[in-house]
C-alpha cells in the first residue's frame, strides 16, 4: 500500500495557496485546508511548491569513475536539490554510445529509485567526432534515448553535425551541442580576457563558443531539425540564439547556475575548483545570461553537475579537471540570481527548471503543471531560509563545489518522486 501525503500551506508557482494531496503516485486533491485521515502531513508553510525539477545536463560518472560519483550518489544529490529527473551525460567509461551502456545507466537509475535517470546517448562513437554512434539503437532501447550529446567534446565536423541533426528527426530527438571550436581552444584554461592575460593561463575565447553556435543554428535551419545548445556562457552567444529564434529556427539553450553567478575573477586564486568548461566569463556576460534566461532567449537552467575526485582538483590549475558540482545548489542559486533580483517569478522558475527541460527532452511524466491527476513529482522549498554551503556535507561523492562557504537563499524541504517522498529536509 502506498503512503499518502498532504502538503500543507504551500504556495503554487503562480502565487495561489493550496494544500496538495498525494496518493498512488498522483496528485489527488488540491484545495485550501485539506484534511485527509491517515495521510502524512508535510508542513510547507512559507514554502513554494514547484513541479519537480528536471536536469538536462548531469555527469553521473558511472560506469567508470565510481570514486567521483555513482548513479545512486548522484540521485541522492539530485533529490536534495529538488530534482526528480536527471539526464546522464554520455562521457562515461565506456562511453554511452551503445544501447548496452545506456540501458545499464537507465537500470542503475531505476534500482536507485530516487528519481528518473535518463541517459543521454553519444552522438559519435567514443565521443571522437568521427562516426555516428548507434543512435537508433539507443533510441529504441529500454532507455528510450531522445537527447544525444558528445558533451565535453564539440561535434566539430560540420558534416557529422548535419547528419546527426537529420538522423534524430526520425524519432523526434535532439542534439545537445557542446559549442567549442577545438582549434581556437587548444590547451585553453579559462576565459580569454584581461584576467587570463594577467594570470598567464591560456585563454578560451568567447568566439570559440559563438562560432559553433552560429554554424549550428544555420545547420539546424537548413535541415529543419532540433538543436539544443549546452551551457551557454557568452553575451555574443545569447545574441545569436536570439537571432535564430526570431528566424524560427528550432533551437533551445541552457545556462548553468554557476555561469549565472560566478566570474573569471575567481581564477585569480588559481584554485581549480573554479576551473570549468566552458569557463567562467565576465560580469557583463553574467548579466547578459540572466537577462536572456529571464526573457526566454535561454530556455532552461541545467546544472552541468560534474563531480571530480579530490586529486583531480588538488593540483596545479592546468593539470586539474574541468567541472563543478551543481545539483544540490542549483535552485538556491536561481533564487539568488533570478528571483531575488526580480528578473523572474516562481512560475518562470517552474518553466526554466522543470516544464521546458522536460519538453525539450520529451520526458512525458515530468514538467507537468501542478494539477489533480498529474504525476506527483514535486519540489517543496522555503525560498527565504538561507544555508551555508559546506563541501563536507554534500550528498555527492565529490566535494568540488565552487560555492563552499557561501550563504545561499532557499532550502529544499521535500522532494516527491512519483508520489513518494524521495527527500525530506531534517530541519523544519
Amino acid at each position: 500500500m502506498t503512503t499518502s501525503y498532504v502538503i500543507k500551506g504551500a504556495v503554487l508557482p503562480h502565487g495561489a495557496k493550496s494544500d496538495i494531496a498525494i496518493a498512488d503516485g498522483l496528485i489527488t486533491q488540491m484545495a485550501p485546508d485539506l484534511n485527509i485521515p491517515g495521510a502524512t502531513v508535510v508542513n510547507a508553510a512559507n514554502a513554494i511548491v514547484l513541479p519537480g525539477l528536471v536536469d538536462l545536463h548531469t555527469h553521473l560518472r558511472e560506469p567508470g569513475k565510481e570514486d567521483a560519483e555513482t548513479v545512486l550518489s548522484g540521485s541522492q544529490a539530485g533529490v536534495r536539490g529538488g530534482y526528480v529527473a536527471l539526464s546522464a551525460m554520455a562521457n562515461t567509461s565506456p562511453v554511452a554510445d551503445t544501447a548496452g551502456v545506456v540501458e545499464q545507466v537507465f537500470r542503475l537509475g531505476q534500482i536507485a529509485g530516487l528519481l528518473d535517470v535518463f541517459p543521454i546517448g553519444a552522438v559519435t562513437k567514443g565521443l571522437e567526432g568521427l562516426e555516428l554512434a548507434e543512435i537508433g539503437a539507443m533510441a529504441d532501447s529500454a532507455a528510450r534515448v531522445r537527447v544525444f550529446s558528445d558533451d565535453g567534446h564539440c561535434v566539430f565536423d560540420p558534416l557529422v553535425m548535419r547528419r546527426a541533426l537529420e538522423y534524430v528527426k526520425k524519432f523526434d530527438g535532439v542534439i545537445a551541442q557542446h559549442a567549442q571550436e577545438p582549434r581556437l581552444t587548444q590547451g585553453s584554461q579559462m576565459n580569454e580576457g584581461f584576467v587570463s592575460s594577467q594570470l598567464g593561463l591560456k585563454g578560451w575565447p568567447a568566439i570559440a563558443e559563438e562560432a559553433i553556435i552560429a554554424r549550428d543554428v544555420l545547420l539546424a535551419d537548413h535541415v529543419q531539425a532540433r538543436l539544443h545548445i549546452c551551457h551557454l556562457t557568452t553575451a555574443g552567444g545569447v545574441e545569436i540564439i536570439r537571432w535564430a529564434k526570431q528566424r524560427g529556427i528550432q533551437v533551445t539553450a541552457e545556462v548553468t547556475p554557476h555561469h549565472l553567478l560566478l566570474t573569471d575573477e575567481l581564477a585569480r586564486s588559481y584554485d581549480p575548483v573554479y576551473k570549468v568548461n566552458p569557463p567562467l566569463r565576465t560580469e557583463s556576460d553574467v548579466m547578459a545570461l540572466r537577462e536572456a534566461l529571464a526573457d526566454g532567449t535561454i530556455d532552461i537552467v541545467a546544472t552541468d553537475h560534474a563531480p571530480h575526485p579530490a586529486e583531480s582538483k588538488e593540483c596545479e590549475w592546468q593539470e586539474a579537471s574541468f567541472g563543478m558540482l551543481g545539483l544540490e545548489t542549483a535552485l538556491s542559486i536561481i533564487n539568488k540570481t533570478m528571483v531575488e533580483t526580480k528578473l523572474m517569478d516562481w512560475s518562470g522558475v517552474a518553466e526554466r527548471m522543470s516544464i521546458t527541460p522536460a519538453r525539450i527532452a520529451r520526458y512525458e511524466n515530468h514538467g507537468r503543471e501542478i494539477a489533480v491527476g498529474a504525476p506527483a513529482n514535486l519540489t517543496v522549498m522555503n525560498p527565504t531560509k538561507t544555508y551555508r554551503v559546506d563541501r563536507d556535507l554534500v550528498a555527492s561523492r565529490s566535494r568540488n563545489t565552487p560555492f563552499h562557504g557561501m550563504e545561499l537563499p532557499g532550502v529544499v524541504l521535500a522532494t516527491f518522486f512519483n508520489g513518494k517522498l524521495s527527500f525530506e529536509s531534517k530541519q523544519p
Binding site: Q189, S197, Q198, D271, W317
Partner: protein, 315 residues
Amino acid sequence: MRHLLSIADLSATQAIQILDTAEELSRVSDGPMKKLPTLRGRTIVNLFAEDSTRTRISFEAAAKRLSADVINFSAKGSSVSKGESLKDTAQTLQAMGADAVIIRHSASGAAQRLADSQWMTGSVINAGDGTHEHPSQALLDAFTIRKNLVRGGNDLTGIRVAIVGDIIHSRVARSNVLLLTKLGAHVTLVAPPTLLPAGVESWPVTVAYDFDSVIADVDVVMMLRIQLERMSEMFFPNVREYSHYFGLNRDRLKMMRPNAIVMHPGPMNRGLEITADSADSARSVILQQVTNGVTVRMAILYLLLAGSQESGAQV
C-alpha cells in the same frame, strides 16, 4: 612578507626595500669573502620541476652565500616529472623540514597553489611559474636598471623601457610590467600582434608593433627569448621574418639613445632575437644581470627568511 609569489603582492616600498637590501649586499659579495652566517641552520629547497640551470644556480649561490643548507630537487631526478602530484611533493618537503621552497614550475600559479595550500608551512618563492610570473627576474632587472640609469633616486621614475618579443608567453614580461610601472617607469611592449595577449589593452603599458618607431625613444631595450618550440603555433611566418622586424641588430643598436642599455633575461638565441654584436656591445648589461641576480636573490632570501617567521618583514 612571507612568500614571494607575484610582483602584484609587493608594494613599491617593499620592492625598493628589496633593491636597497641588494645594494648593501652587493658590497658584501664584492668583498674577498663571500659567505655570511645569516641563514645558518635554515633549509632551502630548490624545487625545479622545469629545467632552468641559470635560475637554479643563481638561487643556490644566493642561499649558500647566506650559509643556508640547500637541497636541490630537480625535475630530472625527482618524481614531479613522473606524475607525482605537487601536493605529495610539498608534503614530502614539509616532512623534511624545509624552511623555504624555491619553485620553478611549468604550470602558471603553481607557486601560489603551494603557498595557499595546507600542504607545507615554509616560505614559497616563485622562481618562474608557467607563463605567469618570474618576480626575482623582474627585481634583478629593476636593480640593474637603477644601478645603470638612476642617479639620486631610489625608484625608476621617468625611465622608459621597451620590452620586445614574445609577451604572451613571457613570465619575465608580466613581472617586469608590474614592477617597472610600480616603480614609475614607462613601459612599451613591442611585439607582433600574435604575441600579445588578449586583454593587454588593460595593462598599464603602451603597445607598439613597430620596433623602429620605439627604439630611439627608450632608455632600456629588454629583449625576450623566442622559444623555438612554439614555432608550430604560427605566431609568425618564420624566424628570418621575426628577426627582421623584432630582432636587435647593429642597425637598431645605432638608433638607441646615448646612454640606453640592452638587457636580456637569458638564455639568448644569438642571431634570432638578438645578434651577437648587440649582445656583446658596450650597451649590453646582460652579464651584470646575471651578477645582480645573485645579490637580489640574497636580498629576497634575507628579507623572507632571516627574521622571525611569524611577523614577516616590516617596511
